[in-house]
Amino acid sequence: MEKLFRKIGLAVTFSPNGKSLIRETLRIHKIYGSEVAFMHVGAKNNEAESKLRTLIDETLYPDKLAYSLNFISGEPSKAIIKKGKELNLDLLLIGALEKETPLKFYLGSVARNIMRDAPFNVLTFTKPIPNRVSFHNVIVSISYDDLGEKAVGISKMIMKSEGETKLTYVRDFSIPALASVVIDAGSTQVTENARKEFYNHEKEKMRWFTRESGIKSDDVEFAVLYGKQGWEVLNYAKEIEADLLILPMKSKRTSIFDRIFMHDVEFILEELPSNTLLIKK
């Protein structure tokens, strides 16, 4: 199997989900042959290192894995991102709550900050499980740019490697001010027809976009959703109970305004609908 993720990292904690995350890391290592780097935020000493290595090795048992263990210090999200850059990670795995408390969300939790600011791909597990066989229900949010192309490429490889995976490409879009056109058209039929035409156009675009990456339409499903971008994908992922959402996300400096006047990916960061793979490079 081609090395989709050449080097992966995991921020290890002693939390209840910590062991499941180590097993998820092992699974990805097995599929893609990735090099693995564990990170831990805390002071490095013999006792801490021994405790961590024991936790990791016991969790991996009966499997074995060659890994590096990196102790880092400072504000956790910044330290993890800095180390991830130094290690030249292709993918960082983290655990995250589906929903943060409002205050934490607005101020930014460790997981959310990493998701927003990391320059490498981030796989966030809301429900890590120790013995996952594969992702069964994967949805890919489509954006028509380089990251979108990468997301489609990655989804194609995931579909190949995961086996029995249902893959759905989703495009959510809206036309601002479309409803106000009825003012002059005088008929909802006009806007309804326009919306249908836009919908078909968008579906056709999505087919072409995936087709250009060599995806055959018969192997996958397509869903076009009309409504606020980000919010529609979020609800669709919840509705079909996806276990992995692949989402292209530009690493862009965001502010509290982006969280107050939520848009696009911020809807998803507010409430993670499933495990989420953020495609950043």
Partner: protein
């Protein structure tokens, strides 16, 4: 004060006459692809002092008495209408679009607001007497501020309709114009409310700082607290109570309450109504259907009554002042076209596209008229200035689409299939194989792009290897992304169908070649998708394939892609 049977009769009769004529003329203007508001205002001019009042003064006086309960009731209805129009206007303000607007939209909205504001403010501040305001009057500053605001506002519904008619609503340009118009509206109404508040404040003895505090407090409460509450409440209301009645009630109750609150504290009612509309419209839970129902409800009954009432109040002939009309027109056109156009140019659009955006943003329509009437009622402007603003609003709305079309035609970088796939790009070909077709089309594309035929052909053949480009029903769309600056689309009607390895095994009789700039993925996809959705239907492919001449094919394709 009691209302008599006679007054009830006159009131209902006049409402019926107003609605009938407004609808009739509105529909007539719609038929000629012009905003219905123009017809509604004309209806007012016909029924008002300008025409009916002059020719049949008795009938005019009977239908629209100036004393008694009828004018009070009519005033109540127009106030209700304007508040409703502002709620509806607010619903279309997409806050997330403002937060994530692109560089081009940011420049377009900023320059499209600042330049018209300066062009409106400066002459009115330094030459107020020209507009009927004494230079030493304390109203000069407020009047100049108002004119700046009036010239910087845009009319979103008219703009949206124009863009939809031109097949541009979903395009990059359409999005830039809509996002910029939303920003202009938001700031325009906030500034205007503030001006009205300053006027009211002076009357009521409320200080400037106090006004500012009220506005700030109101905005913080509405945007940070009530917006979140509404977002949670909407799904509950939609699920628990009858739809759409309950949600319509909720929206109007909230809108009227906010309007009442702002009116009470000395800021104008429209401010509360508009902001209430904005925070309700921002909810992801507000269904598109609900928006449309509200639009229908307000714009079919209340908006016509409001717009027709304008003609009833003002004598357009007596108050027509040509120099004022001309100066307002010049300032309005120059401000928006230069401002928004310059912004678009700085944002990366080419000159012709920037001019098209400038004219697209120039539509003032209903918003300008509402603004003008409120200013007239508040004593901020003279009737002659109001008439000039109405004429400007109508002319800018009427000229927007033709001017945009003109400049888009001049632009080399076209994005709509209807503009790219013209007569000169359509051919009738006699070819033996797909290779022949690609080679011939590559030679023709080489002329347009300046690239070599061999290079284009190789790229097309490489793409064919990835997945065949035969679609279905006899249509094939070979395509490639190359280092060029504008897209090329060629269409060949094949005398003998040739195999393009389509999944339905039907050989292609119509081949559309698309070559697009390598760095414009979305344009490329748009052209591919538009070709399939507009030409891919089996009947359409068959009809094109049956064409014997390029003229015949071009005519048919034009009708399909328009």
């Amino acid at each position: 004060m009691n209302i008599s049977h006679q007054e009830v009769t006159v009131f209902l009769l006049s409402i019926s006459v107003l609605l009938f004529l407004a609808r009739f003329l509105g529909e007539m203007f719609n038929k000629i692809k012009q905003p219905s508001i123009i017809g509604e205002i004309f209806a007012g001019i016909l029924l008002g002092p300008t025409l009916l009042g002059n020719i049949f003064p008795e009938i005019h006086a009977y239908l629209f008495p100036k004393t008694g309960a009828v004018p009070i009731a009519m005033e109540g209805i127009t106030t209700l209408a304007v508040v409703m129009l502002l709620i509806v206007s607010g619903l279309e303000v997409n806050l997330s679009l403002i937060v994530r607007q692109t560089k081009t939209a940011f420049f377009t909205s900023t320059f499209g607001m600042v330049i018209p504001f300066i062009l409106g403010f400066v002459p009115c501040y330094y030459f107020p007497h020209f507009f009927g305001i004494a230079p030493d009057s304390e109203r000069v500053l407020l009047f100049a501020l108002f004119m700046g605001t009036a010239l910087s506002i845009s009319a979103l519904p008219v703009i949206a309709r124009t863009l939809m008619d031109m097949n541009l609503l979903k395009s990059e340009m359409g999005m830039i114009i809509i996002a910029s118009a939303i920003v202009n509206d938001l700031f325009g109404w906030v500034i205007f409310s503030f001006i009205l508040g300053m006027m009211g404040g002076k009357k009521d003895g409320i200080g400037f700082e106090q006004q500012l505090m009220w506005i700030f407090g109101f905005l913080v409460f509405m945007f940070l607290i009530l917006r979140k509450v509404i977002d949670k409440a909407l799904p509950f209301i939609q699920k628990t109570f009858s739809y759409p009645g309950s949600i319509l009630n909720f929206i109007f109750i909230l809108g009227f309450l906010a309007a009442a609150l702002t009116e009470y504290v000395g800021i104008h009612a429209i401010f509360g109504a508009f902001i209430a509309g904005v925070i309700i419209g921002d909810s992801s839970h507000l269904r598109e259907k609900t928006r449309e129902i509200i639009h229908q409800f307000v714009t079919n009954i209340f908006a016509p009554l409001f717009f027709i009432s304008i003609g009833l109040k003002v004598d357009f002939v007596a108050n027509f002042d040509l120099p004022v009309v001309l100066i307002v027109l010049v300032l309005a056109f120059a401000g928006k076209v230069i401002g928004a156009g310059l912004g678009a140019r700085l944002g990366g659009m080419n000159l012709m596209e920037s001019l098209a955006i400038g004219f697209g943003m120039n539509s003032r329509g209903a918003m300008e008229i509402i603004l003008g009437l409120l200013a007239l009622q508040a004593g901020l402007i003279q009737e002659s200035v109001f008439v000039a603003l109405v004429i400007m609003a109508l002319l800018t709305s009427m000229l927007s689409a033709p001017a945009m079309g003109y400049f888009l035609n001049l632009s080399k970088r076209k994005s709509r299939l209807q503009d790219i796939l013209t007569h000169k790009n359509i051919f009738i070909l006699d070819a033996e194989s797909s290779g022949d077709v690609l080679s011939t089309l590559a030679a023709k594309a080489a002329k347009d792009t300046g690239l070599s035929q061999e290079f284009i052909l190789q790229e097309l053949l490489d793409r064919e290897k990835l997945l065949p480009t035969g679609i279905a029903n006899g249509l094939a769309i070979p395509h490639a992304k190359l280092k060029i600056t504008f897209p090329v689309v060629l269409l060949a009607v094949l005398k003998k169908p040739v195999d393009f390895k389509a999944s339905d095994n039907i050989p292609a009789s119509v081949v559309v070649l698309i070559i697009s700039p390598g760095d414009e993925s979305e344009l490329y996809l748009n052209l591919l998708a538009e070709t399939v959705t507009k030409l891919g239907d089996p009947d359409r492919v068959e009809a094109i394939a049956a064409c014997k001449t390029t003229e015949e094919a071009a005519h048919l394709i034009k009708s399909f892609t328009a």
